[in-house]
Amino acid sequence: MTPARTRTPATGIPLSRNPSGRIPLGRIAAWALLAVAAVATIFPFYWMVRTALTPAADLYTDGVGLLPENPTMINFLRVLGLTSQQEARAAGGSGAKVDFLRYLLNSFVYCGLITVVQTMCCAMAGYAFARLRFPGRDLVFGVLIAALMVPPIFTLLPNFVLVKNLGWLNTFAGMVAPSVLMTPFAVFFLRQFFLSIPREIEEAATLDGVGGWGMFWRVVLPMSRGPLLTIGLTTAVWSWKDFLWPLLTGRQEETRVLTVALGIFQQQSPNTQPDWTGLMAGSTLTVLPVLVLLIFLGRRLVESLNFTGIK
């Protein structure tokens, strides 16, 4: 999952002293436990992919083998809307229109908009709170941080009414509105980082005639790639997982994101039994981008938890 160069040796702390060359039972047991945890973590995902590759007609007969007897891509093709309605129905679909390609794109738009715009806006504000001098600074910052105390469900209800009254239901504008400009945590986190930058660098730049705006874009931001990536990743993960808000504000095809699509797809069961092979194909699509993210930014993501996890 990560390239070889990132591999690190074990901690080097002897787990159990082993002077006589006896078999380190404790150590083996500990590794075995870790292996159990790994299998428990991964197996449901394996089973998801395995089911997605199984023809719906085989589900009852081909129950427990680790590999499907007649592997097929039809479930992926039909949830991506790449087959005709008849083919989809023949392969176990309900006949309702599903177009996960579109939902995948919608998810990227939703997630991308929130991540990029929110990170930039919060960086600007964080910088202002950390470095600029203006009356009311600490008061404004304090009020902003107090918003951390308000749970999301509380603002969700009025925000829904607001977005509805603006006529923004089923538009990306309405879906991203509450989070695209800020979250208190991102402002807080980035301000903390900007406070830690040595002031001498900016003082030197001032002598070179760089002003407030240029200072931020050309001096401070290039030094802040790490923290920006950290907070951006955190925001991306949260918005990728979002369900309730996009369900309320963006149910329609044009704005339906993957999580909402899965919820709706689940309701359109063809008979009494849910369309499991289709659902697992759709679920796989929500996991794939996460795996890509882990392959490219795994280390950064894992280490970002050291700083942002406690939210």
Partner: protein, 317 residues
Amino acid sequence: MVASKTATPRHRDDREVFAGTGEPVGRPRRRDDRKVAWLFLAPVLVGFALFYAYPTVLGVYYSLTDYGMLAAPNLVGAENYRDLVDDDKFWNALEVTGYYVVLNIVSQTVLALALATLMHRLTQSVAIRAMLLVPWLVPNVTVGLLWMWMLDANIGFVNHVLRAVGLGTTGFLTSPTWAMPTVAGINTWAYTGYTALLLYAGMLQIPRYLYESASLDGAGEWRMFTRITLPLLRPVLALVLVVSLIGSFQIFDTIAVTTKGGPVGATRVIYFYIYEQAFTNFRMGYASAIAVVLALLLGVLTAVQMRLLRASRSDLA
């Protein structure tokens, strides 16, 4: 621990300079960036005013009205709150949420602590940590569907296994007794890796020589865990616990996908009840009143979290 690398400003910020005359001695004219500052702050302040501050006030106002989203709201005073007291479903929701929180927090914290300790003593592999994080990285909707399928009463994998070893099949999510423990189990699966990584990050702050010298003194692993890891991890553990608690109280997605509050209200948690009242029964005013109660509850927890945040920093960082 949270922001140990970023928390300490190298320079005091210039609050005291500004709060004073604004003209410290020995420096050229005081800089005042107010024009550019408001420009920097504009997007955040607009977002804050429109989607945090205004709705917070509005939410409290709605809770005092009979608002139903169709007609304009009428003030009804504390009626919604009085109704709450007599609402069995509300009390049931609180009870069910409490049950979930206890099941989830206990299992998740114990497992995460064990997992973090194993990693801490065995390996620093980023690959293993990344793998453990996957269930947290995918949407809860996916997690819910995945486990609904694994636990399907007829052809789910788990029931195949149970049948194979001679146990009867169980409709885990359709049994009023088992639905909630099952949901708690599903979310424990989803969050244990994440929680373990937070705890692991805390363990990395414990000086390594403590383990080395304990090992030289012949202390076993259990002793090191109880005498070194646990006591030194305590501030981090407390913080992680409160964060998990706050998250746990807000369980919604998994239930919306798997049980939809059923069977017979066995998993109708408070968040789900608010959702039902607001968007199924269109009782926005009543839903807001429940949200106020939940907000107060979580507000207390968040206040505790903030205190711990400060405490953990001074203890370990």
